[in-house]
């Protein structure tokens, strides 16, 4: 929140003029080239670094909204970014753009699979792909965990959720309700261990 001039200029990057066509094409391109998972990284590269439509803080904010809500981060960020840039139509077209290539790819895969699933080569290849997918997803979540899990409570809630799903077979809604509920109450406002500096500022300001 330092450099006020730059901060003020960056505060409203949504004022950037973006046409619906450009918006659609940008998200279509991300949807078409973002191989290997990690679409969020592609989004950040394009929206923040290349196009400069958002600054880092805004992108981080959209990422955390996306994380908290159901739906994939990639599509949620597309919707939020599209809405902030052009409004409702922007949100719709960003979602369509980022989804369209994958939709074509996966539908074609379905046609090929229905045709070929009895063939041993496809099955064998997909067994290898599945194994690598386990490694990829494990590394993704390992990285996220390493970055965002701090302290005993965090570890306990993760463990409780894993146990709920895999050992007690409770299903996601129950785990969300129970473990999520307890977690939210544990992290309730006044016992929050280290409020981010910005929040603290607001809190201090509110005292005056």
């Amino acid at each position: 929140m330092g450099e006020t001039a730059a901060g003020a200029a960056k505060a409203a990057p949504a004022k950037v003029k973006v046409s619906l066509l450009e918006l659609f094409l940008v998200f279509l391109k991300i949807g078409a080239i973002s191989f290997g998972g990690g679409v969020v990284a592609y989004l950040r590269n394009t929206l923040v670094r290349e196009k400069k439509w958002f600054d880092d803080d805004e992108f981080l904010e959209m990422t955390s909204i996306s994380n908290t809500l159901p739906g994939l981060n990639a599509t949620n960020i597309a919707i939020l970014a599209g809405d902030r840039l052009v409004g409702t139509m922007g949100a719709s077209l960003a979602l369509l753009g980022i989804c369209l290539p994958a939709f074509i790819f996966m539908t074609a895969a379905g046609v090929a699979y229905s045709d070929a699933h009895a063939r041993p080569y496809a099955t064998a290849g997909l067994r290898g792909v599945a194994a690598a997918a386990v490694g990829l997803l494990a590394s993704t979540w390992f990285q996220i965990g390493k970055k965002s899990l701090k302290g005993v409570y965090d570890a306990l809630f993760v463990l409780a959720a894993v146990m709920g799903i895999n050992y007690f077979k409770l299903g996601v809604p129950v785990v969300l309700l129970v473990v999520g509920g307890v977690a939210i109450i544990t992290y309730r406002p006044h016992v929050k261990p280290e409020p981010p500096a910005e929040e603290e500022d607001q809190w201090i300001r509110s005292l005056h």
């Binding site: 994380n67 996966m106 539908t107 099955t123 792909v129 990829l136 959720a161 299903g171 969300l176 309730r188």
Partner: protein, 173 residues
Amino acid sequence: MDQIPALIRVFSYLSLLTIGGGMAAFPEMKVLVVHSHHWLTEEQLIHVYSTGQMSPGPNMMMVAEIGQIVSGPFGALVCALAFFVPTGILTFGVGRLWRRLQGWPWRDSIQKGLGTVAIGLAIGGLITFGKSAITGWIPVLLALVTFVALNRSKVNPIWFILGSGVIGVFALR
């Protein structure tokens, strides 16, 4: 065609479970797609999910492949819409509300609480997935190599996915 209403029900429900990412919904997806509706076998579901990892864009578009296999192109479209539109509308609404909630202290509590549980849900989903996907020592090796390599370098994961596919063709038949 008679499966369309069930596809809509199942995939719009599953989409609501994808807190933090698609993996959270995998255990429930397995129950519904394999055991309740018999749309795919467990092995086929693993194949389709894995194909999603090869796709650009949102990997969970693999739901379209399930729709295609069950009901053709219309099934694919229905699954994609059922999976992406309801949560999309929710995100759209909350996105507009979010700024107004800025001073609300519980906003951060909810974010932190759900974010933490989401990691557990993803690991839980991954364990379910891994149990079906890892059969034998070659897959164990492929998964381990991918895991270690991706943690140590910034190589695009797609090369490991494709490379393991090629190795699979020769070694896992």
